[in-house]
Every structure is written in structure tokens, then in C-alpha cells.
Symmetry: none
Subunit: 460 residues, 2 copies
């Protein structure tokens, strides 16, 4: 039996196992789910073992555990690929907007709905099942494969760096392969060669030492929520331009070639607006929507709070207000430098009548990979074989901090081939994953192993 | 026997009866206490009757009952005063913070501790016992007196308006007298002659139709939380000046006399700042703290929300953000007009890239009574006679909705003479009332009746 037949005849079981995977509420940010996160790691361990991998083990990290497995018998002249993914998921709030419980995977048409379906459990499972299909039918893999699946991606991969640092030879590889991104559009696979970086901050403003009656005190004491609004309004102007001095200093402008690649991508702005329900797009003058959302830096309030949020009226002058604010960075912006610019600027504009505390939550560097290598060409062949069309080259607006880590600690570039779709509500209610892409993904990765097996690494 | 001797010789009994009053858990918001609330109304009915009032009756309102009584034999040339108070009390939670059970009145030193001691049972009882002292010693009152004591003040006086509307001739009066506020400081009585009005609004901003990944979309779609911050920052500047066009048009500037009265008030700004834990006061240039917090209009964010408010980091570009924003008004600002100005202005400045909805929650008109009237002068004389010092004139920064109701439905101004103190923990654990002020209050109100009786209303 070849691996394609095996994939076909095991479709139903693969789906059942994916459902089990998605049923585990591995919300890494919530201490309440600590045991679920561990149970999820153990589930991954079991699946890696069943797939035929060796040295499978749940590793302690100081935070949530990560799972490792490998198969290293292809020989020194074959590439060694480190597959990376994460089994942890985003929180589910607001829960009331989900049409079905987020941890009771529900199939509607070709889609499976559950938190983590697309980000990233469904995509991790593609790799596990490709490996299984290959090993169960051929008894070997054409390349050397290592896989790590971590449990802290959604909270900043806090313990991953030190794990990699302490396990450089265990994880050593020629390149890293990640499926945690999206296809360009349905039917059109994409190879992602650039990622934005991230600086995620929290700003807390304190006014009086307790909530006050706004009638008795209003007008004589500064209000931290008003002050916070003033601060935020001075971070980005109404054209989307960031006002922090020095913010754009290290931004590498897009080349003419890159802008030409962007222009070639199919993109319907009317459909984009319709889909989001907005009257108009928004952003920096002089850039297209695609450039704005992936190749230009930006700043967003991710959350804001303060005072009375209930029904009706409470005449309170709140003691505290706060906001989570993040910036997306592009090459060659440095997160540490941007974090300092942000902090210094806020300190300089903060009204003296309130106390402002600024703290960093997590940072990631922007990343970019050359697009003309043998490994990228092999991916092009594999994706075309499975999807029937040439993949496009894209840059992602999001951050995958581990890409930096792999580059720095393992000296390994990362290739990002995602099988999600952009409208699959990752990080939102009703996250889902297209099952066609799940199965095509398993095919694609198997083809990719096969293509990579044709490369001769004896001279590398 | 004159009424002062009567008050003196009945001190102990008055205190015993006050304790009985305070022992009834008339928590109006709690359905569990419905029968206690009614029992309390019946207690008030009994005390009004014992005091010598006539037409005493517990009136049904659709909610908790209210109690009415009157004595109307002073003649048409004498003022008719409507005394207003409430017998319902705030909830007692957190119960564990009380040093003694809230409905077992406990005396420590000169203070009586119980829920409702200061707000407002103790102050209501001052009026009842003044009336009793007068009627039991002189057999008459020098003025016509009506009293209503309601049971829903702490839950918004929901049924009071319709009761007054249906009983305009029963309640008709020259002015209303209320003791539900505080003295300026221990030993220094105050006559409150002005209240700020209120316009309480809610602003809801919608961007995309769902929460988006801030990496995948940030920079290309407007963020409702950023947009809301821009809107709020344009409502009030960093000096506390409100930027809504026309907002100040109808503001009656403080007169030199009024400002002089403010300057005479003892006020320690350092202590004020220390108490609130703020580095500095804040507000409109050219006005003192006391003026800012009671005699100048202002605007405050009472609550703000949007996106992710939990622990850690969620890289969301929120679909919605909102704020509760209220404005305190001064004479002659009209709440309806201000509501329209607020709404129109926000519509005019709102970025077109988001949807903004603006709604009103509730409004109250500002109120002011001339401070040079015969009735106010009589109060000055009475308070000085009892406390030995000239009372101060103050304006309250908050709103007392019934004051508007009396003005609108009965065309009657309200004089507010409070015998509470600002640190008596109303609405908090360990509420208490100073018994010196209880007895001085009974004296003061008796003196006030006497002074009012000297006025000739035959030309009014």
C-alpha cells in the first residue's frame, strides 16, 4: 500500500483522533486549565508514538510541558527537518458567541469547529499523520525528522528558548518546518517568507486611591480612564501613522520586487470589507491593504478596561484604568528598542495628575527568509502536486517568535507552509478548520518528505 | 415647659426610639426584606402619629410604601414646608467588615453605629422629634408642616414621581426641606443651596464584525478601541476643559459673592490630596478645587471596556469597544440640550472607519436656590442658635433626583440642611451617626420652625 492509499483509508480515524485532540481544553493562559494542558501533551506523546516516531517524550520546561519525537535513519546525506507546532490554544471568551461549545468539536459541512482547530492543533496533526502514513506504508522516512510540539505558544513560548538552548544537539537540524499560518485563499497554498515581530505592552493608569463618586469629586481629580484615552490617542493618528518618535527609523522599506509580488496576489478589497463588515479599510497612506496588514508596522489596542462596565449607570470616577497595547514590527525593527521607545514616549506624554505604569508582556523579532533555496523549491513542487496550482509567496502580519529562536539558537531558517484559511476565526469565537485542507495537508507534507528525500545533502 | 426643656428631658427616650427605628432591617433592594421595609413604614407611621401629626397614613406606591403626615393649622399667612426623607437603607454587605451587627444599634462614645444611622433614619428622626417637641409643649406649630418618608430612595425612588404626580394638592408647599446630606465638618453646619445636574451617556464603537487577529489584520482595519480613545480624548482636554462646542454656553458664572463664600470655607488641599492618594489636584484653570468639584460642569469616563481584559496577552483586534461617559451640569445648563450637543459632536468627530452608537441612560437637571431668601436666612439664624457658629453655604457636586422632581411637579425649591458627617460611612460598613448632631439637629429644626413662623406669607 502506498501512503496515499493509507491516508485515504484512514480518513475517518484521523478525523476521530483530531476530535479527541480538539476536545482537550489546553488553554495555556488560564491556570485553571493547567491539568488539561498537561493531558494534551500526553495525548500528543501517544500520537507521536503511534505514528512510529522514536525517543518520544514529554519534557518538563518549568511551564507547560513540550513533546518531542524523532526518526533519524535516513542518513547523513539527507536533510534533517525539525517540525514545530503547538498544542496549546487561545482562551474562548466571549463564550456566548460560540455556536457550539468550543471544546466539543462539531462538524458542519466540510468544516470542523473547535478552539484550536486551525491554530494549531489541526495543522500539527497534519504532520503527525503524514509521518504515520509514510512510516506505516514504507517502514521508513526519506529524510530525518524531528518534531517538537509545545504548550506555551499562545502565551509567548516563555520556556521554549531555554529548552532549545539546553537541547541544541537534540534539536539540531537543517531547517525548521512550521504549519501555523494560512493558505493564501481557498485552493491556493502559500509559502510564507516573512513575519512581523511583536511588542506587547500593558499600560496601567491610577488616579485616586479608590473609586470616587463622580458627582462629589468630578472636575477636581483627574480621571485615569480619560487620561488613558489621551495617552492612546497620541500613539497612532487617525491615518494609522504611529506617533512614537523613532518608531519607523529601522523599518526596511519594501523593494519594488516585493511590491510587485504583492500586486500579483489575487485580492478583492470589496470582498475583504464585506467579510469584515466595515465601510472602509483603514491604514497608512501610500500602502495597499495587503502591504499594511503584513509588511508594515502597526499599533493596536488589544484590550481596554476601567470603572463600571455593567448594565445601567454607576456614577463612579474610577481609581484605575488600563490597556493592553501591541505593536507589530517589520525588519529591521528591534523589539527591545521599540519597547523602550514606547515606554519613554508614554512617560513623556502621561499627565502628571495620574500614575502610569508600563510593562512588557512579550516580544518577538520580525523575520524574513530567502525564497530561492532547494528546500523552498521542493515545497513548491509538493504543494503543486497536492493542490494542482503553484503556491504563492506571502508575508504574514502575525509573529511566530520561535522563528527567531530557531534562527538564533539552532542557526536554522524556518519555512512556513500553512493549511489554515484566513476566515477560520482563529483567536475568535467559532474557530474552525477546513477538513479538505486537513487531508490535502497530510498529502502535501508526505509529498514534501518525498521531494526533500531527493536532495543530496552530502556537500552541506 | 418650652421645647428645649422637653428635648432635654426626653433625650434618653428619643435615643431608645431611634434604636428601635435602626433595628428594623429596611433594605429596600433586597426582596427578602420586603416585610421589614413595610414594618419600618408602620414604625414611622406610629412615630408621626405619636408626634401629634394628623392625616398620618401609609400609602401604597406599587413598590415599597411611603408614609405621610401633616399639621396644617398655622394659617395661610405662614409658610407650608414639605419635609422629605427616607426610611429605607443600603444593603450591609460586606457584613464581615462590621464591628457590630448592622441592625443591632451600638453606642460607642458619642456615636451610634447601625445601617441607616446617618443615611437617613437618624436625620428623618430629627424632624419627627422636632415636631413632637414643639407640638407637645406648645400645642401647635408656627408653620404648616407636611412630611413624606419614602422607602425606595436607595433604589432610585422609582414610584415617587408618580405618587407626587397623583398627589399634587396633598403635597403642595412653599418649599421642601431635606436632611439627607452632611455638615461641612464637625461643628460646622452647612446649607446646601446647589446641586449639579447629570447627563449619563453610553458610547459604543464597532469596528470589524468580529474579533480579529491583530497580527493578521492590524494596520489594515480600524480598531474600535483606538477610535474610542480618540473620541474620548477630544471630549475634554488635559486641563479639564470640555471641548464639546456650546457646552459652556448656558453656564451661569459664579458671582463674586459666591466665590467669596467658597473662599471662606475651611479646606485643606494637602489633606484632600493625601486622602485621595493623588500627587496633585486637577481641573479647569482659574477655579479652586471646591469650585471645580461642585460649581463647575465636568465630564468623566465612568467605565470603559473592549477586547481582552484577562491575564496575559491576547493579540486581538477587538470588534467592539464602549464607554459610559457622564457630564455634571450646573445652572443653567439643560440636560436635553447637553445630551444633543454631546451626541452631535461625537458624530462629527467619529472616524468614518468605525460605527459609533450613542445613547442616553439618564439625565438630571442642575438645581440652585437663591441664598438670600427669607427661608434661607431663617435657617442661618436657627443653625447659628443651635451650633453657635454661622453655617456655611455649599453646593453639592452630585445630583439628588427628588430635588428636580419637587421643582418640576410641585414648583417648589428645596433647602438641604444635613446633620450627617462626611466620614460616617454611609453605604459602607460601620455606618454611624454622631449623637451630638442628632440632638443639635432636633434643636436646630425646632429653632427653624420658630424662625419660619416669623415670616409673613400673606403677600406670597
Amino acid at each position: 500500500m502506498n501512503y496515499l492509499d493509507y491516508i485515504n483509508s484512514n480518513k475517518e480515524r484521523y478525523l476521530d483522533e483530531l476530535k479527541q485532540f480538539l476536545s482537550i481544553p489546553s488553554v495555556s493562559t488560564d491556570p485553571k486549565h493547567k491539568h488539561d494542558v498537561r493531558a494534551c501533551a500526553e495525548f500528543v506523546e501517544k500520537k507521536l508514538t503511534e505514528a512510529g516516531l522514536e525517543n518520544v517524550k514529554v519534557y518538563e520546561t518549568g511551564g507547560h510541558p513540550l513533546v518531542y519525537g524523532d526518526w533519524l535513519y535516513a542518513g547523513d546525506d539527507k536533510p534533517t527537518v525539525l517540525i514545530y507546532g503547538h498544542y496549546d490554544v487561545q482562551p474562548v471568551d466571549p463564550l456566548e458567541l460560540w455556536n457550539a461549545p468550543p471544546f466539543s468539536p462539531t462538524i458542519k459541512g466540510d468544516k470542523i469547529f473547535a478552539r484550536g482547530a486551525s491554530d494549531d492543533k489541526g495543522q500539527v496533526f497534519i504532520h503527525v499523520k503524514s509521518i504515520e502514513s509514510y512510516l506505516k506504508t514504507k517502514g521508513n522516512l526519506p529524510i530525518n525528522v524531528k518534531i517538537i510540539v509545545e504548550g506555551e505558544e499562545e502565551i509567548g513560548s516563555d520556556h521554549l528558548d531555554s529548552f532549545i538552548e539546553s537541547n541544541k544537539s537534540l534539536l539540531g537540524c537543517d531547517f525548521v518546518l512550521v504549519s501555523d499560518t494560512a493558505m493564501y485563499q481557498p485552493g491556493l497554498p502559500a509559502i510564507c517568507y516573512g513575519l512581523r515581530g511583536l511588542v506587547y505592552m500593558e499600560v496601567n493608569v491610577t488616579g485616586p486611591n479608590r473609586d470616587l463618586h463622580s458627582g462629589a469629586f468630578g472636575g477636581a481629580v483627574d480621571n485615569p480612564a480619560n487620561a488613558l484615552a489621551h495617552i492612546i490617542s497620541r500613539l497612532k493618528d487617525l491615518n494609522g501613522e504611529i506617533l512614537i518618535p523613532g518608531f519607523y527609523d529601522d523599518v526596511k522599506e519594501l523593494t519594488d520586487d516585493e511590491r510587485e509580488e504583492f500586486r500579483k496576489l489575487p485580492f478583492n478589497e470589496e470582498k475583504f470589507k464585506d467579510d469584515l463588515g466595515v465601510e472602509d479599510v483603514f491604514g497608512e497612506k501610500g500602502y495597499t491593504t495587503l502591504e499594511r496588514k503584513s509588511a508594515r508596522p502597526t499599533l493596536d489596542v488589544n484590550g481596554i478596561w476601567g470603572g463600571f462596565q455593567g448594565e445601567g449607570a454607576k456614577t463612579v470616577l474610577p481609581s484605575k484604568a488600563g490597556a493592553k497595547i501591541s505593536m507589530r514590527l517589520v525588519p529591521d525593527q528591534d523589539p527591545d528598542k521599540i519597547q523602550n521607545l514606547f515606554t519613554d514616549y508614554i512617560k513623556s506624554i502621561a499627565p502628571k495628575s495620574v500614575k502610569v505604569e508600563i510593562s512588557g508582556t512579550h516580544n518577538a523579532k520580525p523575520a524574513i527568509t530567502p525564497i530561492d533555496s532547494d528546500e523552498i523549491n521542493a515545497a513548491k513542487v509538493a504543494l503543486k502536486r497536492s493542490f494542482g496550482v503553484e503556491p504563492v509567496f506571502i508575508r504574514e502580519g502575525g509573529s511566530i517568535p520561535v522563528v527567531n529562536t530557531f534562527q538564533e539558537l539552532l542557526n536554522a531558517p524556518t519555512i512556513l507552509i500553512g493549511f489554515g484559511l484566513n476566515d477560520e476565526n482563529i483567536h475568535s469565537p467559532n474557530e474552525h478548520f477546513d477538513l479538505n485542507n486537513f487531508y490535502k495537508g497530510i498529502e502535501s507534507i508526505s509529498f514534501y518528505f518525498e521531494e526533500l528525500g531527493k536532495l543530496n545533502y552530502s556537500n552541506k
